[in-house]
C-alpha cells in the first residue's frame, strides 16, 4: 500500500507518516495541495489522505483534481471540523468520500484505509 498524506500541519502529517511507516505502510507526506499534485505526478499512489481545509487548494478541490488526473486513486478526508454534520455541509452531494475527524486513532485509520482500497 502506497499512500500520500496531505495536511498543512507539518508536525501532524510528518509524525503520522512516520507511525504508518513503522506499520509497514509506504507513506509520503506534503503540506500543500500544489505539492500533492506534483508528488502524485511523479509517483503512483493507491490512496491519498487529505485535510479538508488548507491554504491554497482546499482538500475538497484537491480530491477532484487528483481524481481526474489519477483515475483509480482512492481518497479519505481528515477534518478538524467539530462534528460530522459540519463536515458534510462542506461536501458536494455527488461526492462519496470517507472521512475521519482529528485527532485520529491510527488503527481506525488503517482499517478505513484497507476498507477504502477494497471498496
Amino acid at each position: 500500500m502506497r499512500i500520500l498524506l496531505v495536511d498543512d500541519e507539518k508536525e501532524f502529517v510528518a509524525t503520522l507518516a512516520e507511525r504508518l511507516e513503522l506499520r509497514g505502510i509506504d507513506a509520503d507526506w506534503v503540506t500543500t495541495g500544489e505539492a500533492a499534485l506534483a508528488k502524485a505526478a511523479e509517483r503512483a499512489y493507491d490512496l491519498a489522505i487529505l485535510d479538508v481545509k488548507m491554504p491554497g487548494i482546499s482538500g475538497l478541490k484537491l480530491e477532484k483534481l487528483m481524481a481526474q488526473r489519477h483515475p483509480g486513486m482512492k481518497f479519505i478526508f481528515l477534518t478538524g471540523h467539530g462534528s460530522a454534520s459540519d463536515y458534510h455541509s462542506g461536501i458536494a452531494e455527488d461526492r462519496v468520500v470517507d472521512y475521519l475527524v482529528k485527532p485520529v486513532n491510527i488503527e481506525a485509520l488503517i482499517t478505513k484505509m484497507q476498507a477504502t482500497l477494497t471498496s
Binding site: 500541519e9 508536525e11 501532524f12 509524525t15 491554504p55 478538524g80 482529528k102 485520529v104 491510527i106
Partner: protein, 229 residues
C-alpha cells in the same frame, strides 16, 4: 423592517459562532499533533519492549514537540478567554492596540487559509476610547474580511492606529486594492448597523483604497438602546 439592534444582535451571534468554530478547529489541530507524538512515544516504547534500543534524541524531540503544542493551545485558550469576556460590559474603555491585536489573533486561521498576511504596525499606537468592545471587534472583523478579500492570496494587509485631534482614533487597513465602498459588503445594513452602534465613521482613500474606521473618544450611554448583543 429589521431594526439596527436586531441586526447588531444577529451579527454578533454569527461573529461569536464563527470565532468559536475557528478556535475549536485550531484546538483540534493541536490535539491531533499531540495525539500523533504521544502515539509515536507509545510505538517507541513497544519497540523497546521487543529489544530495539530507545533513541534518546528522538524521545527528547518528541517531548519537546508535545510541549510546544501545549503552549500553542494555552495561547489559543487565553485568546478565546479574552474574546469571551469582551461581552461582559457592553460599554467600556478599551485600548485600541490591544483590541486590534486580539482580533488579528482571532483571524489568524482565516488569514492563513486565504494566504494573506496580517501585518499590524509595530508598535501600534496606544489610544483608549470608551466604546462597545464586542461590536468594535465585530466591526474590525468585517473590515478584515473585506481587506483580506481585497488584498488577495499572497497579499499583505497593513494595520495601524492613528490618534485623532478630538481624542478618538482611526484604525487603518492598508495594502488593499482600490475598491469603492458601495460595491463592497461594507455598504450593507449589517456594517452600517455596527457603525451606528459604535458611533464609528468610515473613511476610504480614493487613491490607495486604504480603509479607515474613525472612532470617537467615547460614545454616550444613550446609545445603549441600539445594541442587542
Amino acid at each position: 423592517m429589521t431594526v439596527p439592534a436586531e441586526i447588531v444582535g444577529a451579527e454578533g451571534l454569527k461573529f461569536f459562532g464563527r470565532i468559536s468554530a475557528s478556535i475549536s478547529h485550531e484546538i483540534r489541530n493541536a490535539l491531533a499533533v499531540i495525539n500523533e507524538h504521544a502515539g509515536l512515544l507509545e510505538d517507541m516504547t513497544l519497540m523497546a519492549e521487543k529489544g530495539m534500543p530507545l533513541d534518546a534524541a528522538r524521545l527528547k524531540r518528541t517531548a519537546g514537540a508535545v510541549l510546544k503544542q501545549v503552549q500553542r493551545v494555552d495561547g489559543i485558550v487565553k485568546t478565546m478567554n479574552r474574546f469571551a469576556h469582551s461581552v461582559d460590559e457592553p460599554l467600556k474603555r478599551v485600548d485600541l492596540a490591544e483590541t486590534l491585536e486580539l482580533v488579528v489573533r482571532l483571524f489568524g486561521r482565516f488569514a492563513a487559509v486565504r494566504q494573506v498576511t496580517l501585518a499590524p504596525e509595530s508598535p501600534l499606537a496606544s489610544v483608549s476610547v470608551a466604546t462597545r468592545p464586542f461590536q468594535l471587534q465585530n466591526l474590525i472583523g468585517l473590515c478584515l474580511d473585506h481587506a483580506m478579500q481585497s488584498a488577495g492570496a499572497g497579499g499583505t494587509v497593513k494595520l495601524s492606529i492613528a490618534p485623532l485631534p478630538d481624542g478618538g482614533a482611526e484604525i487603518r487597513f492598508g495594502g488593499l486594492g482600490v475598491s469603492a465602498l458601495p460595491e463592497t459588503p461594507l455598504a450593507g445594513e449589517t456594517f452600517q448597523a455596527l457603525l451606528g452602534a459604535t458611533r464609528t465613521e468610515v473613511a476610504i482613500c480614493a487613491e490607495t483604497g486604504e480603509l479607515g474606521l474613525r472612532l470617537p473618544p467615547k460614545i454616550a450611554c444613550d446609545a445603549g438602546g441600539e445594541t442587542g448583543a
